[in-house]
Amino acid sequence: MSATGIESLAARRAGRPDANAPELAADERRERLHLFGLSLPALLVIGIVAFLPTAWLFWLSFIDEGSFSLAHYERMVREASYLRIFWSTFEISAVVTVIAILLGYPLAYLLSQLSERAASLLLILVLVPFWTSLLVRTYAWLVLLQRRGVINDWLQGLGLVDAPLRLVHNYTGTLIGMTHIMLPFLILPTYAALRTIDRDYLKAAASLGASPLRAFWTVFFPLSLPGLMAGALLVFVLCLGFYVTPALLGGGRVLLVSMKIQQNAGMYFEWGAASAMGVILLVATLGIFWGLGRLVSLDRVMGER
């Protein structure tokens, strides 16, 4: 607080009108502006390197042969190949989300019932893969699932199958790899939400005669839904734009929006089609994140990393 601030405080205490109120207000505005200015370098870098090109793509998606046109979007709707890509992206994202819920919720539930100490020790097993590079984990699955890979070796060694199964470079491999990478994104927010549920509700339900199963489904599960929904939406939205894992484990048999964008831009230099697909993906993604932001604070989710 500056000297003028103290004087005006004294003036107000004495019941006199604040003679320099306008100056003080101006001072405060200037100070806030200066503080805001500290964010300008970061805004500048992100504005030029992230937002400008994204806006540019937006613009390109509406330009065909030099003039404004909706031709690129019409192609997306009319051509069966594009519709199929959008559908398979949606489908695989939904399937991965459902599997992640089925695998992740029981684990999060069990962890939330252990002591904090035990839970945080077991959480390390969730965090280690979470921290490991995406590419490394995808590589691990490639090695595990390939024809002469570990899983086929074991299956044959145990006499469960005669010939090696085709586990990778197809839909199965993509599904396994994507689920593995997405699972921590479901477990961590769900676990955090389950921890905050007051156990006394369950005791109340039990004292009123509910069986444990009934108490779970009518009391605990509904209370856990916001956390679970947040995790599920996060997984779904991350799957929509996922590139690395499906590109490597799908072996060209799984074509998703992100891969088509990469092909159009990187191989055929078809900027119009690439940007129109990108805009559709971006609008869907930001829309879902907006919904997610209404469920939980976003920086909590992003700060997890």
Binding site: M1, P41, I46, V49, T54, W56, L57, P129, W131, L282
Partner: protein, 263 residues
């Protein structure tokens, strides 16, 4: 107070299921490391013989070393760019408390919400026009847009635990704003700042998609080389590189996690 209403014996299936899920989560990571010490051309688990040949291969390959060097340079420079920018933005926007500041906070985390593939295509398009494709500067700027949000979020979280009145006291005793920040605020934010810097470093080191678009040939980053290596044929040298990356990521991000908790 004993919690579970269902006796342990009747929910063994839940314990077994949870254990299987945990195995599914960690198995890939823990299988790659022993396999990187395999002596055979084909990776089997458990390895039939042990050797350091894939590590030797990595250390004797000029291409792998060049890619590692580029990735490390990019990661260090990204950390040096993103950390101060992230701290300045976090501090300024946290103290400014205006509607405009809230909007700027949202804008600064938006790069994490945009699918990376879109950023990759966009950055590539921009860099073609201004000649930044295949340059270290281009790589550092592109990685900074992903790293700045992490630093900002981490430091903002640290600032929420900090009482700005401490800085006011220092200034009322005659310190300039900068001096008050440097001697009072900054030391108390140390843990958050180091955690943010570690996030920035790993974000750059692990980044794949943007690098696919803007780095190639002799300018390839480590992850870009790995990506191409995985598409063509699986070279066991990648197991060695992967193991090194696992150890590095877990060590750095584990440290970041501990620092944040001790804030």
């Amino acid at each position: 107070m004993h919690e579970p209403f269902v006796p342990h014996s009747r929910r063994l299936w839940l314990y077994a299921f949870a254990a299987l899920v945990l195995v599914f989560l960690v198995a890939p990571v823990f299988i790659v490391i022993p396999m990187s010490f395999s002596g055979a051309q084909f990776l089997t688990f458990p390895p039939e013989s042990f050797s350091l040949r894939w590590y030797r291969n990595y250390l004797e390959s000029p291409e792998w070393l060049a890619a590692t060097w580029i990735s490390l340079k990019a990661a260090v420079l990204t950390t040096l760019v993103a950390t101060p920018l992230g701290i300045a933005a976090a501090y300024g926007l946290n103290a400014s408390r205006t509607r405009l500041a809230t909007m700027a906070q949202v804008a600064l985390v938006t790069p994490l919400l945009i699918p990376v593939i879109i950023l990759g295509v966009g950055v590539f398009y921009l860099y073609v026009q201004i000649g930044l494709v295949n340059t270290l500067l281009g790589l550092v700027l592109a990685h900074s847009i992903l790293a700045i949000p992490f630093v900002m979020v981490t430091v903002t979280a640290g600032l929420r635990q900090f009482d700005l009145n401490q800085e006011r006291v220092a200034r009322s005793l005659g310190a300039t704003r900068l001096r008050a920040f440097m001697t009072v605020t900054l030391p108390q934010l140390r843990n958050s700042i180091v955690a943010g810097g570690l996030f920035a470093f790993i974000t750059s080191l692990d980044e794949v998609v943007i690098a696919l678009f803007i780095s190639s040939g002799p300018q390839s980053t480590l992850t870009r080389r790995m990506f191409s290596g995985l598409r063509d044929q699986v070279d066991p040298t990648i197991a060695a590189v992967s193991s090194l990356l696992i150890v590095l990521s877990v060590a750095l991000l584990g440290t970041a996690q501990l620092l944040q908790r001790r804030r």
